[in-house]
């Protein structure tokens, strides 16, 4: 097995045990990136000299018998909206690519480095995180490692593709409307969107303050838990019950309307794997999606208004009109959307009195082709970009924690399934993902490149 094929926890154990050095792990990943990233376009910046210094620091600790940390020798990378010392935080934009360099790492990244990780670089994304495809007008499209003619999903597309390609063992991304869960599902890897507010966002470029979340990607659920333990901030964890199949339900209604049959088959496979037979509905989920859609455009548009006035020509053409239109929405829309948010949260709380975990697709279809403008949902031709997040937006709208698990194999492209828990119950969703992985129901094999 090649070093880049191992999970993060396996690599850390090998480094701790002296089986391999952090420097050897690092060089194996750098070689793979240099060989294959020109094909996939995951990285917008590499930080190999820094990573080599971090690897040497880990190896020195091992040599003197000191503890190098739980991520000893684990290669990582971050979406390019995280501050990385010495790099401009471009957030997928042309406007900020020459901004003053960050003087320090984002605190959440600093924690991973402190734990022994080695930073390989910054990763491609949709401009200002406003998209589901990572077809960036300034930095190009990131290609899906499982089929390079297809998108990696977005907006954290570089983060997901880098994991599927074996460029890193853990990457970080952000999720406002689905930007961790969608690319994780389309690239066939694991992704965690924690509860809203659970991970500190200082040192990251914002998109929509009231909806932004940070989280990790990996090729195993154990790695997600490992990263999450280091990243999580204030501990609002609610006691997690044991997995009880009678308290796990598949979400019907909105969450299956228009989904392709192979997508629904993936949800059914996960439900079977968990022994779940119940079905339920989250009322008015389509309005939750609409409310998230409008709030996103409004807050994002207001945030970027100075540059939309001063230099609109420098925005990605796919981003600019949505931000301008969003900023000009009537106050009534946003006020009622925020009122609806309160109502919808209460409806979800009622559901969690009966169920501990809810299952839903991450996307209505497998990865679309790069450049594909429209797709068929429920027999109707609709634009790709705004419709890939149909099933993720209602969930992040109320900040619920979700583990996206990959259903792969069978000659089909990867399909993601959301395992959704009540706020503060990341542990339970992670436990379900770990069980499914152990039983072979879900898996994140390296893409055959």
């Amino acid at each position: 097995m090649k070093l880049y094929e191992h999970s993060a926890h396996t690599l850390a154990a090998m480094v701790h045990g002296g089986e391999v050095s952090a420097s050897e792990v690092l060089e194996a990943h750098i070689t793979r990136i240099e060989a294959l990233d020109p094909l996939l376009n995951c990285f917008t910046n590499t930080t190999f000299p820094r990573a080599r210094a971090e690897a040497e620091a880990v190896d020195r600790k091992i040599a003197i018998g000191a503890d190098p940390g739980p991520l000893a020798g684990v290669p990582i990378a971050v979406k390019n909206l995280f501050d990385v010392q010495g790099l401009s935080t471009r957030a997928g934009s042309k406007i900020f690519r020459n901004a003053p360099e960050a003087t320090a790492d984002a605190p959440v990244l600093a924690r991973l480095i402190q734990a022994g990780a080695m930073l390989l670089g910054a990763l491609n994304m949709d401009e200002f995180a406003y998209g589901f495809v990572t077809e960036n007008a300034h930095d190009g499209a990131t290609r899906n490692p499982h089929d390079i003619s297809r998108v990696a999903g977005g907006s954290s597309g570089g983060s997901a593709a880098a994991i599927a390609a074996g460029f890193a063992a853990i990457t970080l991304g952000s999720d406002t409307n689905g930007s961790i869960r969608l690319p994780a599902g389309l690239c066939g890897i694991f992704g965690l969107k924690p509860s809203y507010g659970r991970i500190e966002r200082t040192g990251t470029f914002p998109f929509v303050d009231s909806l932004d979340h940070l989280g990790p990607f990996a090729r195993s659920a154990t790695d997600l838990a490992l990263a999450y333990d280091i990243m999580k901030d204030c501990d609002i964890c609610r006691p997690a019950p044991l997995l009880d199949p009678s308290r796990i339900a598949v979400l019907g209604g909105w969450f299956e309307q228009g989904a392709d049959p192979e997508i629904l088959a993936a949800v059914a496979a996960v439900a079977r794997g968990l022994g779940a037979a119940a079905r339920t509905t989250l009322p008015a989920a389509h309005i939750a999606r609409a409310a998230a859609f409008c709030i996103t455009a409004f807050e994002g548009g207001q945030f970027h208004k100075p540059n939309l006035i001063a230099r609109p020509e420098d925005f990605d053409p796919a981003t600019r009109p949505r931000l301008i239109a969003g900023a000009l929405q009537p106050a009534e829309t946003i006020y009622q959307a925020q009122r609806f948010r309160t109502w919808f949260r209460a409806e979800a709380e009622k559901l969690f009195e009966r169920f501990d975990l809810l299952l839903a697709p991450a996307s209505p279809c497998v990865a679309p082709l790069i450049g594909q403008a429209t797709m068929i949902i429920g027999g109707e031709e609709v634009p790709v970009r705004p419709n890939l997040g149909l099933y993720t937006q209602p969930i992040s709208f109320i900040g619920l924690p979700v583990v996206c698990v990959p259903v792969t194999g069978g000659g089909l492209l990867p399909r993601g399934v959301q395992i959704i828990a009540a706020p503060g119950r990341e542990r339970l969703a992670l436990a379900a993902a770990t069980m499914l992985e152990r039983e072979g129901v879900v898996a994140a094999p390296l893409a055959a490149l």
């Binding site: 009231s210 008015a284 389509h286 309005i287 999606r289 609409a290 409310a291 859609f293 409008c294 455009a297 208004k305 939309l308 006035i309 609109p312 020509e313 053409p317 600019r320 009109p321 949505r322 301008i324 239109a325 969003g326 900023a327 000009l328 929405q329 009537p330 009534e332 829309t333 006020y335 009622q336 959307a337 925020q338 009122r339 609806f340 948010r341 309160t342 109502w343 949260r345 705004p386």
Partner: protein, 61 residues
């Protein structure tokens, strides 16, 4: 898709009122994006909420 006249008029007025100009070459795309938002907005505003439901944005004094 052309926006319905009331949306076009609103967009022009809001652009002026809020000081966010729309360049001529961007107007068609902005109008299309606004039409999509309008469809979503109608779902929200037509949904009947109990009168005592308060808005959700965080405020920490």
């Amino acid at each position: 898709m052309d926006p319905i006249p009331t949306e076009a008029a609103y967009l022009q007025a809001a652009s002026l009122m809020l000081g966010l100009p729309i360049r001529p070459e961007h107007q068609a795309d902005v109008a299309a994006a606004f039409a999509v938002l309008g469809t979503q907005a109608r779902l929200i505003t037509e949904f009947s909420l109990p009168a005592d439901i308060e808005a959700a944005p965080r405020f920490t004094p």
